[in-house]
């Protein structure tokens, strides 16, 4: 039987969600065995990727990568979270992956899916430079 990557991902999601923690290990092995017996083990990386996407969509989880010059403070975090909820109304949970990069000088930059929002001082300075050159 030919099983699509998307179907594997859905199967895995249903296995993991509807069962207790104790049984998950066993179920996961079973899942792997099923994939292997179908000869689709080389596709496992892709399956995991699609599963992650599917999982985020079903759970309303949005992952954003936030870059700041110093460790992010609570106020900024709240602003970022509110903004993400505004552009992604379907988001029920927002997960922030934080990165610190001193070269940004200040401000915040974050990426949600394929949307980039840049409010760093570095970016503003580049814009200023370009506008002065013209």
């Amino acid at each position: 039987m030919k099983v699509k990557t998307q179907e594997y991902a859905q199967l895995l999601y249903n296995l993991l969600i509807n069962n207790e923690d104790k049984k998950i290990d066993q179920l996961f092995y079973g899942f792997l065995y099923f994939v292997e017996s179908n000869g689709d083990l080389p596709k496992i990386e892709k399956i995991i990727m699609v599963f992650e996407e599917y999982y985020q969509k079903r759970e309303g989880l949005v992952v954003a990568e936030v870059t700041t010059a110093r460790k992010i403070d609570e106020e900024t975090e709240k602003v970022v979270r509110d903004y993400i909820k505004k552009i992604k109304p379907e988001a029920r949970k927002v997960e922030l992956k934080e990165r610190v990069d001193p070269t940004e000088l200040g401000g915040v930059r974050f990426m949600v899916d394929d949307r980039l929002v840049d409010a760093t001082i570095k970016k503003q300075l580049i814009n200023l430079k370009n506008s002065l050159i013209q």
Partner: protein, 506 residues
Amino acid sequence: MKINKEEILKELRAQLANFKAETYEAEVGHVVEVGDGIVRLSGLSQVKMSEMIEFKEAGQESIYGVALNLNDGSVGAMVLGESSRIQEGDLAYATGRILEVPVGDKLIGRVVNPLGQPIDGKGNIAPDAFYPVEKIAPGVITRQSVNKPIQTGLKAIDALIPIGRGQRELIIGDRQTGKTAIAIDAIINQKKENVICIYVAIGQKESKVAKIVAELTERGAMDNTIVVLAGASDPAALSFIAPYAGCAMGEYFMDKGKDVLVVYDDLSKHAWSYREISLLLRRPPGREAYPGDIFYLHSRLLERSAKLNADYGGGSLTALPIIETQSGDVSAYIPTNVISITDGQIYLESDLFYQGVRPALNIGLSVSRVGSAAQIKAMKQVAGKLRIDLAQFRELEAFAQFSSDLDQETKNRLELGKRLSEILKQGQYEPMPVANQVVVLYAAVNGLVNAIPVERIKEWEAGFIKYCQVNYKTIMAEIIKPEGLTDKIKEALNKAVTEFNQSFSK
């Protein structure tokens, strides 16, 4: 001079006051794979077909790409520029704009690349507007049938295969048969005709284009010409968009009610570059490894040439696409496609070229499907007889090779045919005004030159035109009027030939 500190500060303050700190938001993707002028991107889920994608690098000019394949989870794009500067993992920004080129009067007299950037070292061009590279052709409501000729200045073409404004006439032939020469002669002749010319060089050697530009400049034809160059060393993506870009530049003038002539030199190389891009994008190959939409590639381009009606400004865009055949094979894939799209073809043969018939037109195989409606009346009157005489000559010529004993009638026809063929020969860069063409052809088809030896026909032709211009100035001016060759003009011309022949034979 003392620099005033205060003034500089004031200037700076004014500039800084205008600057607003804004949050930058964009749709981005990541480069997954790059090579051979093609990139594969992840992300960019909202990107549109043929939208421009920007690859930015700090401190360097950005490189642009065009989205061509929108797959599930990935985007395939071609790079318009050096793809070697793009690296795996780079950010790619969606611009929200579809591919467009600068257009306007300032482009005239310049050599630009397919993105409209100057490459002739004469400084920047301030565009009047931007036109999309890919555009849907004018519809039925906006069009009008072809009614005005575009004079190429070549006797053989203007008399036998006339081209109208808004027509698409294919120039087809092997390499080295003078295809480009015909197009360049046509461009040179537009100097006085008030037609804007665009020469699109696709995958051409830069040396050849440099030679053409030098020739056009010398003859003053660059004053109404734009050269769009995608060189042989440029990436295939530039060759692919070059004809569309040239067409967009022409459409700007057409929309202004002007007449435009666009030469696409040549569409075989255009098809190759599109094949290259398609194969790299992993689109399935078809016949001769061309992709399935190769016909649409050329039909959508050539359909954009049009004659607009008066309600839409009355402008026109005439296309002269060029196709290079391999050893005379016109039944190959691309030649048959383009033949079926265009309104006729000018067929050049290497055999004729080596026999000294230049332009090496094969009159039997060349046709113009709509142009004859646009010919001026005087030309129609002489061309009708010319066509029949030449057809009879071709038939008799083959027949006469077998027998030496011919009757007088046949001999006369052969002699006339030889002179007509001689008259239709014409040197390169020697376009001839239509009135001159008419007087020469009138004399020839009416057998008034039968007494002149074939070897001296060229000499006779030059002399006769000069003679008419000096002694029959008013008649020459009247020929191009809508009445055509009236009895009065015919009489005057007969007289002129008799007079000139007397002095010529001495």
